[in-house]
Symmetry: C2
Amino acid sequence: MSEDPHWLTPTQLYAWMQLTGAITQLPSVIDAQLRRDSGLNFFEYSILAGLSGAPRRAMKMATLAQMANGSQSRLSHAVSRLEKGGWVERRTCPEGSRSVEAVLTEEGVRKITEAAPSHVREVRRMVVDPLTDEELAQLRNALRKIMLVASPEAVRLLDDTFAETTASGQSSVDR
Amino acid sequence: MSEDPHWLTPTQLYAWMQLTGAITQLPSVIDAQLRRDSGLNFFEYSILAGLSGAPRRAMKMATLAQMANGSQSRLSHAVSRLEKGGWVERRTCPEGSRSVEAVLTEEGVRKITEAAPSHVREVRRMVVDPLTDEELAQLRNALRKIMLVASPEAVRLLDDTFAETTASGQSSVDR
DNA sequence: CCTGACTGATTGAACGTTCAACTCGCGGCG
DNA sequence: CGCCGCGAGTTGAACGTTCAATCAGTCAGG
């Protein structure tokens, strides 16, 4: 319609629209399954899953926020909800009392162990099963390059936590 | 941690986490750019962009909702906001008065033509430029297979509108 | 020792989305 | 003819996230 900015070619546009479709639709599908089966949303699930795989089933708020892809404020509100459900507790951090850590309660462990299977099933059904190993690798590769621009922080964090996982035998409830 | 559901392999888990990172982070990056430069969020932008490429700069609410990946309720609220800004108007649909159509005003045309360039620039920067043509194709391919499970509706709609675009020379403000 | 800057964390209000009614116009069928 | 159902659209309340302040603890410099 106008020329001065380079427009997108049909192929590029198609890919972009497929991507927007995915980033708007996938969250709601995932949230729907979790909400239906466990009464959690994906962010809350990520918190519980993150804690369940952490050293003392505890994590500093700030770290947890990064890992769950959310702001500190969002995390604070979410943890308040999870506390109300009895699944996590707040504890002022051992060492340097400037920070707070969230701890998974026994109830919380039960909750996440209960919620995980159906969630993983959904992930398999939607993304792992319909793709070949090669396609999954290609997807990861392309997304990584995008994220490198959109949020380099997130990429580094992911690469780090993943390096750990492959090296040490750290058991965690997927995520 | 538990065994009865098949767990994800490290490779699969890595890909899945990269995907969750993308679907949670990308929307906020895109929204941030749009909000900063035009005061719109991506959903509102999609509405204006969709209308700008439609036959009479008008669309039935239901169709528009699908195209913008949102519920009818969400669309209704969003169109109310856009009306308040003077960018669209509601009009009872010519033919069968059971439905309503949203129409882009002149103000609306200006608004979207103004908002598009910087948005497209952002899309280029984040997804088009950092990827080779092949990688972009692989991304589209993988996402399409996922969406085929998650939301077959959306895939068919996208394929249809895209078939049109390639055939007839329909000009539209990207999206 | 005190001030000022900085980080971690929380809070409440504003905003947008979801959810569950509800209305309206249109058929089909008894 | 009247009833029921159905899809399109709207509405308001509930919910979750964002945004902008705010508080508390830490450390560097004067």
